[in-house]
Each structure stands twice: as C-alpha cells, then as structure tokens.
C-alpha cells in the first residue's frame, strides 16, 4: 500500500507540470486560450484567484467538469494552493479524456509570491446569497444568473402606473443598474396605483421618489435618474448610456413612437406595456427579431379616440398586473431564458379575468424597421401623433 507521499510523487510523474512563470505566459498569451481551473475549496477561492479562472472544488471535479468544459482538447491549467490537489485533479482530467492538461506547480501560493496577477472572484457575498436565495434555488437563474442580473442595466421610461411595479420588482430582483426617465412630480391622483411613490412624497420629482424607494428596498441597485421628458434631442444621449432592456411605461403616443424609433436604431429591446380602464397590452419589441411598435400600430389613433388614463381612468391594480409582466419579460431578456413575448401581443382583460394572445409579425414595409426604411431620423412626434388632420 502506498503512502500519500508515494502516491503524490507517482501521480506527478504521470502528469505535466508548469511553474508559475510558464503559467503567467499562458495567461498573457491571447492565442493560447488556456483555461485556468481552480480546484480549491470555496473559502480559498473567495480570498483571491488567478484572473479569469473557473472554479470546481476538487471533490466535485468529476461530476462538474464536463458541463463546464465540454471541449476535451481545450488547454487547461489546473491549480490549487500548493500544487498537490491540482496534480491529482490533472490526473483525473486525463483519465476523463482531457488531452491538454497541466498542473500549476507551487499553486496559487507560489503564483502570489511571484507577484503575478490575482483578483477577487466574482461571486455573491453572504448577504447577497441570503437576499437572492430564492433565485439561487432556481436552476435557470442560480448564482451565474444572479450575477448577470447584478450586471444588467434596465431603463424605465416613466415612473408611473407601469413603471412603479416594474421598477420595484426589477430592483428587488437585483438588477444592478436601473435608469428612470420621468419629468413629472408625484401628484395625489397618482397614489391610487403608482406604488413606488407615497403620500409623503407628494410634490417630489417622480424619478427621485422612485430612486429613494428602490434604494431602500435594495442597496445593490444603482439608480440613475433622468428628470426630463424623452425628446428627439435627449433620446440618443439617454439610450446611448448603454441599456440591455428598456421598459416602456410611457403615458402618451409621441413618447412611445419616439422610443420605438430610437430603440430600433440603438438595437435595444423594448418591453412594451399599455393600459386603459380594465385592459392592458404587453409585448416585447426586439429589433431584428420581431416587429417594432410601428409594425404593430403604423398610426396612433387621434387623441380623441385614445384617451389617457388621466382622461379615461384606470383600475388601480391593472398597471400592477401589466407592469409585473413587463418586469418578468425584462428579467427573462436580461437572463437570456425562456420564450420572450416577441411576436406576440398579450391582452389582459381584468373584468373577464382573461388573457388573450394575438400574433404580431414584422412588416417588411415598415418605415423604420422594414427592408427599405423611409424614416431614418427623428421626426416631430407630437405632430405625427396629432394625426393627418393637423396638416389640414
């Protein structure tokens, strides 16, 4: 029977080892593409890693490596703290059919002693693990998905009926950066449905009020406020800050058409929602992958046929339903999971308690996203939405 020392030296004869200097060359080489695989325990990993490394604790190596590294020809540098565990791991990987595996002699300890680059791993902190635990339990989200949400940037147009529930749920979910565009102030008539605001915020700017509520809900979220109305003049600046998804909770047609054109040109998906009395509409308008708002509605109805909630009223909870669906779709887009509402318009009727779906298709003749676009710069959206009669 072999002792541990004998076994280790026997294994080291069967595998290839590199020293830290050779390792750092592999790390620097662009063409090498070596994958650094850290086989230490979680607490060791948490304290510092080789930049770009992936983590599989030694005990989980056999069961997890094929999922993480499907390519058996991939060049792999295995490391642990001192070079022993990684030697055994390298042997195991060879036995599993990995063809280009080396163990980092001296391990992370020697690497650090040489002053080679290290970094802190991307992982959730203890508080985040607790806060997002119900997300971590879902295979489709998990730690990787949660980190992705924390890296995500979602822009909300409007902090009103739809923007209230959408911003609250996106913030609670841990979307790292939320942008809020709203030039309005909190009014008493808003509070029947705009749950991100409160009585004590009356008169306060909605964007600021929403920011305060969100920051109190989740300190992980950075809120960027834009206390302005979306216009042809500022839309490129605001969208140009780089957003993964836009949630459209505007309350007027000129903003919705402006946002549509801008999002097509910026290539940012829009989760559209609109509400009136007891009914709502939701869809995902994803440039290049479905219709845009103009494909759906080439012309808005004239103002007298399209009363706003201020004119026609709305059941207070209705935006709660529609805005929450918008938040759901935005999270799916940010995570890259599921079947987004692209090419489908979901209609909700609260009185009959029914959902209906209709099919939407991209219009090849669409003036903005069609094959031969005729609108290629911002137009006067107020005039456009006033209808043909405005020209008479």
């Amino acid at each position: 029977m072999a002792t541990y020392r004998e076994l280790l030296s026997q294994v080291k004869e069967e595998i290839d080892e590199i020293d830290a200097a050779e390792g750092v060359r592999l790390l620097d080489s662009d063409s090498g593409g070596a994958l650094f695989l850290d086989v230490r325990e979680q607490d060791e990993w948490d304290q510092g890693i080789i930049p770009g490394a992936v983590h599989i604790p030694r005990g989980n190596l056999e069961s997890r490596v094929e999922g993480l590294v499907p390519d058996r020809e991939r060049s792999i540098v295995v490391y642990c703290a001192g070079g022993s565990r990684s030697a055994f791991a390298a042997k195991t990987l060879t036995e599993l059919g990995y063809e280009n595996v080396v163990s980092l002699a001296g391990g992370f300890t020697d690497w650090k002693r040489n002053g080679f680059p290290t970094t802190l791993p991307r992982s959730l902190g203890a508080e985040q693990r607790s806060r997002y635990s119900r997300h971590l339990l879902i295979p489709e989200v998990g730690e990787e998905g949660q980190l992705r949400l924390l890296d995500s940037r979602i822009l909300l147009i409007g902090a009103g009926g739809l923007g209230s529930p959408a911003s609250l749920y996106l913030a609670a979910a841990g979307v790292g950066t939320l942008g809020i565009v709203d030039d309005d102030a909190v009014d008493a008539t808003n509070l029947q449905r705009q749950i991100v605001h409160s009585t004590e915020r009356l008169g306060e700017a909605k964007a600021e009020s929403a920011k305060r509520t969100i920051e109190a809900l989740n300190p992980d979220v950075t809120v960027k406020t834009f206390q302005e109305r979306l216009t042809s003049e500022n839309v490129d600046r605001i969208l140009g800050e780089g957003w993964d998804v836009i949630v459209d909770g505007a309350d007027n047609f000129p903003t919705r058409y402006l946002l549509n054109d801008a999002s097509v040109w910026h290539g940012i998906p829009v989760v559209h929602g609109s509400i009136f009395r007891f009914e709502g509409q939701v869809t995902v308008l994803k440039p290049g992958d479905g219709p845009c708002y103009r494909c759906l509605f080439p012309q808005p109805p004239p103002p007298e046929l399209a009363p706003s909630c201020a004119e026609g009223g709305v059941l207070g909870v209705l935006p709660g339903v529609i805005g929450s669906i918008q938040a759901t779709e935005a999270l799916k887009l940010a995570l890259g999971i599921g079947e987004p509402l692209v090419g489908r318009l979901l209609l909700y009727d609260a009185l009959s308690a029914s959902f209906t779906e209709v099919t939407l298709r991209r219009d090849p003749g669409c003036p903005v996203c069609g094959d031969n676009p005729t609108i290629t710069e911002y137009v006067d959206y107020v005039e456009f939405c006033a209808g043909p009669r405005a020209h008479a």
Binding site: D248, R256, P300, P301, A306, S308, V314, L351, T356, T359
Partner: protein, 82 residues
Amino acid sequence: MTRVRIPPTLRAAVGGEREVPASGATVGELLDDLTARFPGLEGQLQFANVYVDGEDIRTLDELETPVREGATVILLPAMAGG
C-alpha cells in the same frame, strides 16, 4: 353570426357592450354590418387592428379575409396609457 370584441375606446359607440354580434363572410362584410348598425363607429375603425383567430388581417387578406363560423374577431387600437 360572429362575436366581435370591442375595445374600451369604441364601446360608447356600441352602447357600452364589450362584445357585439355581427354577420358577414369576410372581415369587410363584418365591419360594414357593424357600422350599419352602430353609425358611431364610422371613421373610427380605421385606427383599430383587426385580428381573426389571433392573426392580424394585414398579414392575411385584409378586408377580404374570410371569417368562419365561430371565429374570434378582435378590434384593437393602440393604447397610450401607462
């Protein structure tokens, strides 16, 4: 007879009904029947998309789109509210 879903903004023109029956073998006939009985709809239908069994008639045969017995027809204008 086909039941046509009326959007909230057009309901005043049909006596407040959420759904009204209409007859016609095509969408055009159906809408003509509606406007004949509800003159208030005149000039308003052009702003509504028409879906027959979930498909936009613009992707079918427009007003010539046949409407089978028991089909679901939805009139849907854009809504601004948020």
